[in-house]
Symmetry: C2
Subunit: 337 residues, 2 copies
Amino acid sequence: MEKKLPTIKEIARRLNISASTVSRALHDHPSIGLRTKMAVKKLAAELNYEPNQTAIFFKQRKTFTIGLVLPNLREEFFSAAINGIEDVAMDHNYIVLIGQSHDDLAREQKLIESMKNHRVDGIIASISSSTTHIGHFEQMKNYEIPVVFFDRVPDAKDIHSVSCNLYDSSVEAVEWLIKNGHKRIAFLQGPPTLNMKNERLDGYMEAHKKHKLAVDESLIVSTDLSVEGTQKAFDSLMLLKKRPTAILSFNDYVTLDAIHYARQKKLTINKDICFVSYANVPVTQYVEYPPLASVEQFPYDQGVSATELLFRLIDKKTARQEAPYENIVLKSELIIR
Amino acid sequence: MEKKLPTIKEIARRLNISASTVSRALHDHPSIGLRTKMAVKKLAAELNYEPNQTAIFFKQRKTFTIGLVLPNLREEFFSAAINGIEDVAMDHNYIVLIGQSHDDLAREQKLIESMKNHRVDGIIASISSSTTHIGHFEQMKNYEIPVVFFDRVPDAKDIHSVSCNLYDSSVEAVEWLIKNGHKRIAFLQGPPTLNMKNERLDGYMEAHKKHKLAVDESLIVSTDLSVEGTQKAFDSLMLLKKRPTAILSFNDYVTLDAIHYARQKKLTINKDICFVSYANVPVTQYVEYPPLASVEQFPYDQGVSATELLFRLIDKKTARQEAPYENIVLKSELIIR
DNA sequence: ATGTGACAGGCAAACGATTGCGGAAAATGC
DNA sequence: GCATTTTCCGCAATCGTTTGCCTGTCACAT
């Protein structure tokens, strides 16, 4: 039942010429005469010949595939980033292998291993929240597989990365709250692993300093991003004698969970408590009480930028050139509703 | 600078034995003596040998890769489905190539083409809303690449598919509305291409018939899933002399758009107009006015089921067996808030 | 007639791993 | 001690394509 797909050898056999001639003819190599070239192309078209990519991958040591490892696809931030990645990849005739770590280190490692086995030409990654070390990524250097981190970038030297400048917009966000009369502003941060390079917190601090506001350490709490973790963090804030009037929170999803919980607790949003957040995901448009402002992180652009960087690295590798470590920082923007 | 990865040949050279012996030793072939086997495994471990998968892919005519083509990743329905697909794939040591059609036929075709070139072992697809013909999928038969459709299944014979029984729950949804006193129930359907096998509409009709309610054709409108399309459809319903009191609508995203628009028009949700929908995506939990009920379509389970079916097909192909066309229908469930 | 060069195309190796077949050496049988 | 079986391993082909190098055939100039 199996239909044999036509090969170069088959074409060569039928035309009584050699396989190398066929190959060159199909590639418009100058040393092939017009007559034979035409004959080859004609027969190739008739047989519906298509080169066996796996053979080419094998020979060329290239798979025209990039691997993408990220925490999940549920968050619109990541699915938007994929759009950028996919668009650039498609332009380069590449295709994307995908894997979700679900914020689990072991799974992330397994995915990287699997992508290495598949000999991807490069990897784009946003690390899981439980990624405490990045040995599995560093290993890729041994296989000459370039890795570009985006958004969730590990705090390490000698890596390539694309991320957003959250420092400036964090300052801006807090200043905006201060300008609106808030004096006790809480900071609900993510898990420690994602805080290594804590631009959000640094900006939070800077804004306080700039406006000569003391920072109350008890206003700084953190969540593991789970609903329960967020609720616990929120509870600890509400138990304070002097409650905050506003919360700057890790991202929109955490914020939505917090708002949902606050309403269960009979708090009035934007009166008892205000929220400012990060990500500015479109779904917040549909909710009743969205955060008052959110920092747009341009996931599509981050995806595009990361992929373009990756292709530069792949090209350099092909050309056997050294590539300096690049850490691209894109602008973010505080969007006020 | 390039580190040569160790190969079987390299091990053979160092041990002064043949490559075939090394290969067999690593595979615990019985005809290899214990001494040589040990020596090979020891050296392989020292050199950190790992088989070149691309060579194996090429030789075995298998890539241990499945392709996944779907409209988009933004909708939680699809990202949830991917979770199921990825989990099953991982169990089988497979990895997933992903591509978004963005509801564009040309792009879908290009993705299929690309996946074919990469010689994926199988394809799982949910068709785009502009997919008027499925020739590009049918082509895959020539390459012996099995295709399983899920959720958005084309209305064609000789295909494999996994979908949800939307007929029963559509009946149930309409009956629920009737029971709650609604007599004029509109039906906001998707674009024609996705309505070939219109279980939603059939269920809508059946419920009316069952309850001896006449169907008013002007209450049946459709959207191309865009915000504007949905608004236009909604407008046409509101222009009727006898407006509907409830709308059964294609999916939660369309519904959210419609609700958003209705509120702009100063309509009071659940009083002037009620909504019942499909998909039951989690994000509706966060919105102020979610649909009153939504049909859960169990995307994770659909993903699992589709992938398991695909692996059965791949196995049969490997065993050179015929596989009858399977069309699996899973249960859906009306979730009332 | 000889040399020079351009042109057209073939040979064979290579990429890395797998596998049918065959054969030498060692172990066993009688 | 010779035949036979078993154990262990190598040879070579194969998958489909690419590519460096070589060869043969003309045409043209000298």
